[in-house]
Amino acid sequence: MTDQPEQHPVTGLDDVVHQRVRLGILTVAHQARRVEFGFLRTALGLTAGNLSQHLAILEKAGLVDIEKGYEGKRARTWLSLTPAGDRALRDEVAQLKRLIHQIEHGSSTPES
């Protein structure tokens, strides 16, 4: 017999993406296409240091591109999702939906 038990959706969650702050960053960047550090900090209610740490993890994982520059004398940091980041967010949301389906119906494959 080669039948393998169906994997639980929890095993499909990526630790880098699933962390709540990073999931928030990816969601905002996905909708905004391009988002500035200050907007992210306000939208997510974080300190600058905390946000920087999470951005460094996402950048290292190749999920976001970070672009630093100046507008006049003001330093600004913009970030955007990479194609891998976009895919990772979609996968995460799909896994969460599977998980909800599993909890509600006992099977991890949503009918759609």
Binding site: R20, V21, L23, G24, T27, V28, Q31, A32, R33, R34, V35, E36, F37, G38, F39, L40, T42, A43, L44, G45, L46, E71, R76, W78, S80, V93, L96, K97, L99, I100, I103
Partner: protein, 243 residues
């Protein structure tokens, strides 16, 4: 940041964040204001370009051989230039706002639709320059389409290719990119007003009056301005919260 708890709560938190970003991206009042002003400007252009001309009547008309009165109103440059400026100003407004707020703009499809429509308007102007403006009652051969000027279909097409498309289609695209059902509803009302078949003189203003086009532009123009006011007022609390 409500992104913890059950998967349901996490997804709800993501939805809430997405809504917050969309709210910061919206600037619907500005294009509505420009298009409303452009529409009302059409009244003045019609007024100041008003001309009564006498031309030979078509051979089929009862008064054939005698002079017929034709009213000429409007400028062929007003709408193409006005709409081009409105789209350019909207693009500038959204890009500037995006820089100030620190969040990307979703307006590119709206501007691209506007540019494509301007191409169509330019092609139509080119066609009419080559073929001349058709005389009253004359059949139209437009790029393979044989149109009978007296048929309901031709009249519907005339209304459709006018402001209903030049203004309505970009607004439809804007309601999609901004995920705004209210704007979608406003666009539907606008397009319905532009497409409704109205008999000549329905407003009580004779077609020989310089103000004949007033209700034709005032009704959709005021609708767009009211929409701009409504969206602007709806945005005020968000702006106060952000500052």
């Amino acid at each position: 940041m409500p992104l913890q708890g059950t998967p349901h709560e996490v997804l709800a938190g993501l939805g809430e964040l997405t809504r917050k970003v969309r709210a910061a991206q919206r600037g619907t009042w500005f294009p509505l204001l420009l298009l409303g002003v452009l529409m009302l400007g059409g009244i003045l252009v019609s007024r100041f370009t008003f001309q009564v001309l006498t031309v030979p009547c078509p051979a089929t008309a009862p008064a054939a051989g005698v002079g017929c009165t034709v009213v000429k109103q409007g400028s062929p440059l007003y709408w193409p230039i006005g709409i081009a400026l409105a789209y350019a100003a909207t693009a500038f407004f959204y890009i500037r706002r995006s820089r100030n707020r620190g969040v990307g703009t979703p307006v590119r499809p709206y501007i691209l639709t506007g540019i494509a429509l301007l191409g169509v308007v330019a092609a139509t102007s080119f066609w009419s320059t080559r073929h001349g403006i058709p005389r009253p009652g004359e059949p139209l051969d437009f790029w393979g389409l044989h149109l009978d000027p007296s048929s309901e279909m031709t009249r519907f097409l005339e209304r459709l290719v006018g402001n209903a498309t030049a203004v309505g289609l970009p607004l439809l695209v804007l309601s999609w990119v901004e995920r705004s059902r209210v704007l979608l509803l406003l666009t539907a009302v606008y397009v319905a007003i532009e497409l409704v078949p109205l008999p000549t003189g329905w407003s009580g203003i004779p077609f020989t009056s310089p103000w004949f086009f007033l209700p034709r532009y005032a009704v959709p123009g005021v609708l767009l301005l009211l929409g701009a006011l409504g969206f602007g007022l709806a945005e005020l609390p968000r702006r106060r919260n952000a500052s």
